[in-house]
């Protein structure tokens, strides 16, 4: 009798779904990404980290509101609240929730909440932009091969063999000068330019490693039989790229995105700390840290506020990234 239409076989193939160990027995029709996200949702650590990140995002977004409630802003000087040597004469109180900054007497709570903004904005904008560029170039290089691949690969090599910190330092003054005749710029313009330079530098160095990763993935996927099958069917190249390959790159993309975020926050604050990143009057954690190192003994809160901000945010993001990787790639589970 014919097996194909054997009713018995129908039964057995039903039964078999339960028998295949890899299959989730309860729900069907879940894409691998869905499964990964479900896994992530069950990871308590991931949820806690996501909440922390969310909290910081809220603080950054609601900074004006929070400061309005406090009744302060980040730019007003309160020199009457510091003594002759610049030390604050007041601690945290009802007017200034976190106290005031040495020397200028600016409100620390406002500085801190606004300081969360550049970190988050730069990290998100830079990581998303660099991911898009990385994915597009990686896909192109990997799939097209030939001279396109060679060119892109060379550029990747080139970018990756530039010393990132040094170039970041070199780029800032150059771009600032390119950006406009010095005489045309207000202090705010200057600060904004630094902001975009920082994003640019991070993107410039960020895309390459993802592109390399994606290229490698594409090359290995390209040899996978389902891509061959698509070709045999006559699926056009663009469709192969975006419908067959791209969905299979979700895991590396999500993972690298989740690792890029904390890395960029660290980079932003680090460059700013060195004095080559953001500048006054943009409030930022990196600047606060740099300024506060001189006051760490007399005014530890001033130092610890931004330190805790940067650390907690990167810690939460890194752990979240780790959980994301585990969720997408359970083999590497700790």
């Amino acid at each position: 009798m014919s097996l194909g239409v054997d009713p018995q076989d129908q039964v057995s193939s039903e039964a078999l779904v339960a028998a295949v160990p890899v299959a989730s027995t309860k729900e069907h029709g879940k894409s691998p990404s869905r499964i990964a996200f479900d896994r992530l949702r069950k990871d308590r650590m991931a949820i806690v980290c996501a909440c922390v990140v969310l909290l910081f995002i809220l603080v950054a977004v609601l900074a004006p509101l929070l400061c309005a409630i406090e009744g302060q802003n980040y730019s007003d000087f309160h020199t009457e609240l510091v003594d002759e040597f610049g030390f604050p004469t007041i601690g945290p109180n009802a007017d200034h929730w976190f106290g005031v900054e040495p020397k200028t007497g600016r409100d620390l709570f406002a500085q801190w909440t606004y300081g969360a903004r550049p970190s988050l904005v730069i990290a998100f904008v830079a990581s998303i932009t660099s991911s898009v560029i990385g994915v597009v170039l990686g896909l192109t290089a990997g799939f097209l091969s030939g001279w396109v691949d060679r060119t892109i690969s060379w550029v990747i090599d080139f970018v990756l063999s530039l010393p990132y910190l040094l170039v970041a330092i070199a780029a800032v003054p150059i771009v600032v000068q390119v950006a406009g005749g010095v005489n045309a710029l207000t202090p705010q313009d200057n600060a904004d330019i630094r902001f975009f330079v920082l994003i640019g530098v991070l993107v410039f160095f960020g895309w390459a490693s993802l592109a390399r990763l994606i290229r490698g993935e594409v090359i290995s996927l390209r040899e996978r039989e389902f891509v061959q099958a698509a070709k045999v069917i006559g699926v056009p190249t663009r469709r192969v790229l975006f419908k067959e390959l791209l969905p299979n790159l979700v895991a590396p993309i999500v993972i690298s995105l989740s690792l890029a975020l904390p890395a960029y926050i660290v980079a932003e604050a680090g460059l700013t700390f060195l004095g080559v990143g953001l500048i006054e009057p943009t409030p930022s954690w990196g600047q606060m840290i740099a300024k506060a190192t001189t006051y760490y003994q007399a005014d530890p809160l001033y130092l610890w506020l931004p330190v805790v901000g940067v650390s907690a945010l990167t810690l939460a993001l890194s752990w979240l990234g780790d959980s994301v990787r585990d969720a997408f790639d359970p083999k590497t589970r700790r």
């Binding site: 194909g4 028998a19 890899v22 299959a23 069907h28 029709g29 691998p32 039989e225 099958a229 045999v232």
Partner: protein
Amino acid sequence: MSSTPASGTPLLSVRDLKMHFPIKNTDGLFARKQVVQAVDGVSFDLGKGQTLGLVGESGCGKSTLGRAITRLYQPTSGQVLFEGTDLAGLPEKRMRPFRRELQMVFQDPYSSLNPRQTVGSIISTPLQVHGLAKGKEIQRVQELLERVGLNPEHHNRYPNEFSGGQRQRIGIARALAVEPQVIVADEPVSALDVSIQAQVMNLMEELRRDLGIAFVFIAHDLGVVRHFCDRVAVMYLGKMVEVGDREQVYTAPQHPYTQALLSAVPDLGAVRGVPPRERIRLAGDVPSPINPPSGCRFRTRCWKAQDICASQEPPLESKAEAGAGHSIACHFPEVKESLVAEASA
């Protein structure tokens, strides 16, 4: 089914097909361009509804041949004639209509399905690409699933929810979607367990019988080929060394390599009281296809090799004494009675 060779123009005709891969040699200062002669001048015909089995050792070019036929590779030279049209040189655009006629089933049930697509969308992709069953894709997908023995309700599941055998069925359904005339099956069952393998074999048998699809069936399991195919071609190092009807090749092999290959297959005869056959044990391994031996490529492992084998390449020609449609590429073909004793039992 009887194995009458098709008359008239064959459905698929391969003429002197060559597939050479350029590789970079990494020895020495300057990279010398070398080629892997993965397939080197292969010809055969395939009639409607016919099945041709391709057997041979690993690396002899079976998959490459299959891929060159389906134009996954652009053949180096030679022709692939489908109903008289040469596909070998066709640009991809003009190739598109022929893709409907010529499909492929792959070996690895895990990598041949896109893990990010539902079974439904995997099977409907060919429909969309070729504009088939417009508006009724879901019905068609369910029909196909049913055809290959899967529950049609499962079209919205992902491949990871299926077992190896079921996945292979999905792959077959995908190939069937465009109603092809020829399916190139590259080791479709070698990754499966015996019991599952038999299920899939049965399915293919059925398709062939019901739909009249012709198969180029690649396998290294000689038993499977023997079971499934009308004609069998034996490949060695990119060349066909022997081709003929199943009975001819299995019961009266004339090429020493075919003989050695067949005698190496372990079988159940021993426990069934069949007298042991003579065994030919080949020494050594298959030479590299980068620098194949001159003349007859098998001569380095052949016990019958003589000087002529090194200097002159034996053509694949039908020998009158061997029977119609039975061709052998050997300077000294002969039937070894001691070898075939068991096969007739």
